[in-house]
Amino acid sequence: MNMELSRRTFLKTSGAGLAGTTLGAFGFSEAEAAVAAAVKPFHLVNTTEARNTCTYCSVACGIIIYSKGDLKKGEKADIVHIEGDADHPTNRGTLCPKGSALRDIVKSQTRLTQPMLRKAGSDTFEAVSWDVALDKIARAMKDDRDANFVATNADGVTVNRWLTTGFLAASATTNETAFATYKVVRSTGILAFDNQARV
């Protein structure tokens, strides 16, 4: 089964392609050709496709993301549509009320777009640069770790743990992100380490 090819071909032929010279080959009459020419090309014809999976529950339905612009060519890509992937064995193209609205979570008004800082006692966030934010974080970690690192316990056993800082990891990130996170967090001696599986 190669649905990918057939779907793509179908979109091309039924959309923009119809207005071109291939019409005769499909046996369209002049009247039908006039109608076809007046119809707006299918809006997904000029998009790129990316295979992905739904970000919500772990049924992990296959989805296809349609974008204007091609990331693979180094272009900016703007997501215009997300739908179920008919090739996917689990969901076979279907999506639930959450999955059907995926584009709107990507485009949510409350997406974060720049690093922000809320100072002690302040009633507002203010924008900061990535460098300022990351340097502040690293400095705070270093100072707290140096001040509170427990190298040995009361019995003199080497325990090398750091208990005054904690880290909650995200269970919607990829395995690859999770592994990088694991390495960084564990290397510091943090034990207050958890993820959504706990709840």
């Binding site: 295979r51 739904c54 949510s108 974060l112 090398n160 395995n175 690859e176 001696g189 993820n195 599986a197």
Partner: protein
């Protein structure tokens, strides 16, 4: 899940208890519909509410939240007393025949060895009798009164249909109907599947809820077969992956353990991890633990992990308590013992219990770092939102740094679905504004911290400065690099010991699977169970061939499933002792005379002869366990315990409050309503709606239109009693906090009779908060108690006590 979503089509009976798949996992639930339509499968739903799954069920039975163990033990009692047991499975494939040592006993809700002060057991008696040959003693005749089967029979005898009705509120005839339908699946050619989720985990005895059903499934012979299994419907898209990768206090990737301070050196650590078989010939695959551990340490620390320094064992932190789970950490935070806290894609102010306590903890931090694609309540816990979050920002000295991250549509990599499939995905859009991937952020933090330690020195810099970070661009490791690292690779050429000219493994090559991992530092592998995901043949997780030989539902060429691309765990048990499928029409694998072959990757050595080696290869017994020795804190068999807040005392053990070994912090006892407290007379429970995902989709305009406003759900009877109108405002409060919401008065909830007392239920959906596109609402965790499961500390969100009254609605400032 032991099985896959697509395998559910193979079942004869679906039991949804402790979950609501039609509502929360709709596209997975379609496989239930498929089984009903094509096989004539039946669906049973057992739940406090007549929910969306119940609406399409063949049979629905009500149950009071927090009483599932009584129901499940009742089912086991029914199966044993009516001989609904798949004996040819139970005798060889479970530990029914194993003899338990003298001294073990159970009485009045407690097992031997209970220490009331420590709220813990001395579990020495919870073990097998070991014979002179060094193996566990078994009695194939099941005559020995101390064999597991007879102890089980005795243990469940109290859970009669009458007792189930008394504890659970389930009418006796409804329970018996369920028991009859379940019992039919004890034949070799009928299978039942269990689909459960947070309705079972979010209790102070959540792990034992699940064990209860696992035991039942073993008695029916339904583990390892098509259409069977224990199927945990996991909540988040990669909650399985994060668990596999050990992003928890006490774990190392692949379900290895962080050492405790009682294991000061590697030899001591390994001394309790020999996993010597308990019966002759058994695989006991954890005997390879050392290979997994050493390869992990090589992945973490590269050349700095050597045989001489015990593979950098001292770099790992050593635990002084069982774990620093989130409840413990927020307790520490409240006490001012935590200074710095990171939330990566996590909203703890809503996700953990007792919002008041959580907020008090966050306010004591020096710094809170948020990494998220979206605004969260946690990031804004210091912001005044009137009645929804009443605070004075000037009083809160916590510095908050909020970092914008990409979301699924903008990044690349793999996620593990509930059925253990690692599926690769590709990005479709550019990140908004300055948003960055979490991997980039973690790399930047690591590099900066490493630089500071190199420049300034400081406390034990070794594990930080020696962390293996050999990526092409250290500031931005690629998903491919990280995936290959998890799969594992060969570090040094390895030659055949019998023939030194023969190279067995070549340095620089990807491993083909975990069978190649070694304990001498010649291989590295970040997560042994993922080995095989990115081999020399390429990215196995990105495979997209959806062919399905035999229509078995296995899809072996679609993505990669851990372990070893196996789709049904324990699939050796789908065949009888001689290797013939129990049900030839639902073959998974079979013994062809020389090897195991079939539609799935065999879960046994391919040439292991059928009668020689048992199917449960991870267990030293070679069998599954009806009795779990001392592996669970609250007992080798499940016992019914009431929730910590309950309308009634425990019928079978009136003196016991909650789970007798669950951890409760001293101050939290005062925040629990007393048993049967007239000030909090109604049984509250929390749940989810199909239109929303946790606390995310209130940021989504479409979902916020579909379900715009917070509500609670009550019965017509309770509404009448309290003078509450459909759509009217109510105030709901527990001993910890209150919320205002609209009332949905429904026939879906009915009052129950529990131990002769009428119990009303108040349902509290969880999806609202004070940021997002939906109308502002109260966080549901304002109401819930700060106590978790005795084994794994999952909070008791599903059963708590509240009061309710009609109200004029919240006063919005």
């Amino acid at each position: 899940m032991t099985n896959a979503w697509t395998d559910i089509k193979n079942t004869d009976l679906v039991v949804i208890m402790g979950g609501n798949a039609a509502e929360a996992h709709p596209c997975g639930f379609k496989w239930v519909t498929e089984a009903k339509a094509t096989r004539g499968a039946k669906l049973i739903v057992v739940d406090p509410r007549y929910n969306r799954s119940a609406a399409v069920a063949d049979f629905y039975a009500p149950i009071r939240q927090g009483s599932d163990i009584a129901f499940l033990m009742g089912l086991i009692n029914h199966c044993i007393s009516h001989d609904k047991v798949q004996w040819d499975y139970v005798k060889p494939f479970t530990n029914a025949t194993f003899v338990v040592r003298e001294g073990y006993a159970y009485q009045d809700g407690l097992f031997t060895g209970y220490d009331e002060e420590k709220r813990d057991y001395v579990k020495d008696s919870w073990e097998y009798e070991i014979g002179p040959d060094g193996y566990a003693v078994v009695d194939e005749t099941l005559q020995n009164p101390r064999c597991v089967w007879n102890l089980l029979k005795q243990h469940v005898a109290i859970y009669t249909p009458e007792m189930v009705e008394r504890i659970c509120g389930t009418p006796k005839d409804a329970f018996l109907k369920v028991a009859e339908m379940v019992g039919e699946c004890s034949t070799p050619t009928k299978t039942m599947t269990s689909m459960y989720a947070l309705g079972w985990t979010q209790h102070s005895k959540g792990a034992q809820n699940i064990r209860g059903m696992a035991m039942l499934q073993l008695i029916l012979g339904n583990i390892g077969v098509r259409g069977g299994g224990m199927n945990a419907l996991r909540g988040h898209s990669n909650i399985q992956g994060l668990t596999d990768l050990g992003l928890m206090s006490n774990l190392i990737p692949g379900y290895l353990n962080i050492p405790t301070q009682k294991e000061p050196d590697f030899a001591t650590y390994m001394s309790t991890r020999a996993f010597k078989p308990l019966r002759p010939n058994q695989t006991s695959y954890w005997q390879n633990y050392r290979k997994f551990f050493v390869s992990f340490m090589k992945s973490m620390y590269g050349p700095a992990a050597t045989a001489e320094n015990d593979w950098a064992y001292s770099y790992l932190p050593k635990l002084d308590v069982a774990s620093y789970d989130v409840l413990r950490v927020f307790e520490m935070m409240k006490q001012g013992k935590v200074n710095l806290y990171f939330c990566q894609g996590f909203n703890p102010l809503q996700a953990f219990p007792d919002k008041g306590k959580l907020a008090a903890g966050l306010a004591k931090l020096k710094m809170l770092v948020i990494m998220d694609p979206l605004q969260t309540e946690t990031a804004r816990f210091w912001e005044d939102h009137g009645t929804f979050n009443k605070v004075n920002p000037a009083d809160i000295q916590t510095e908050v740094i909020q970092l914008p991250t990409t979301c699924f549509a903008e990044d690349e990599g793999s996620l593990v679905n509930s059925g253990r499939w690692l599926q690769w995905h590709w990005p479709g859009g550019s990140p908004p504004g300055e948003a960055k991937t979490d991997t980039w952020i973690m790399a930047q933090i690591h590099l900066r911290l490493k630089e500071l330690y190199k420049k300034e020195g400081g406390a034990f810099p070794d594990p930080i400065v020696n962390l293996n970070w050999s990526y092409k661009d250290p500031g931005d490791p690629t998903p491919e690099e990280l995936a290959k690292e998890m799969n594992g690779s060969v570090l040094v050429d390895v030659f055949d010991p019998a023939d030194p000219t023969k190279k067995v493994l070549e340095a620089g090559k990807q491993l083909s699977g975990f069978g190649q991992l070694r304990d001498d530092g010649t291989t590295a592998g970040g997560c042994w169970i993922y080995s095989g995901c990115w081999t020399e043949a390429g990215n196995m997780m990105a495979r997209r061939d959806n062919s399905d030989p035999g229509d078995a539902g296995m899809f072996l060429k679609w993505s990669f499933s851990w372990p070893a691309n196996r789709r049904v765990l324990y699939n050796r048990a789908s065949c009888d002792l001689d290797g013939k499928p129990w049900d030839p029409s639902r073959k998974l694998i079979e013994w062809d005379g020389t090897k195991w072959t079939g539609y799935d990757v065999p879960d046994i050595a391919p040439t292991a002869k059928p009668r020689d080696v048992g199917p449960f290869i991870m267990n030293p017994e070679g069998t599954s366990r009806l009795w779990v020795r001392k592996m669970m804190r609250d007992g080798p068999f499940p016992v019914h315990y009431e929730p910590f807040e309950s309308p009634v005392a425990n019928v079978i053990a009136p003196k016991i409050r909650g789970n007798p070994v669950a951890r409760v912090f001293p101050d939290d006892w005062k925040t629990f309503a007393d048993i049967g407290d007239p000030a909090y007379p109604y049984a509250g429970t929390s749940y989810r709606l199909t239109e929303h995902f946790h606390y995310w989709t209130k940021n989504n305009h479409v979902n916020s239109v579909l379900q715009p406003e917070q509500f609670v759900e009550i019965s017509e009877e309770l509404a009448k009693e309290k003078g509450i109108a459909l759509g009217g405002w109510v105030r709901v409060w527990s001993k910890r906090g209150e919320l205002y919401a609209k009332a949905v008065v429904t026939k879906r909830i009915k009052p129950m009779t529990v131990d002769g007392k009428t119990v009303h239920i108040v349902g509290v959906p969880i999806h609202w908060g004070f940021v997002g596109a939906a109308r502002k609402g109260f966080t549901a965790n304002t109401l819930t108690p700060f106590v978790g499961d005795a084994n794994i500390e999952t909070p008791e969100f599903k059963a708590f006590m509240v009061n309710i009254e009609p109200s004029a609605g919240p006063v919005v400032a």
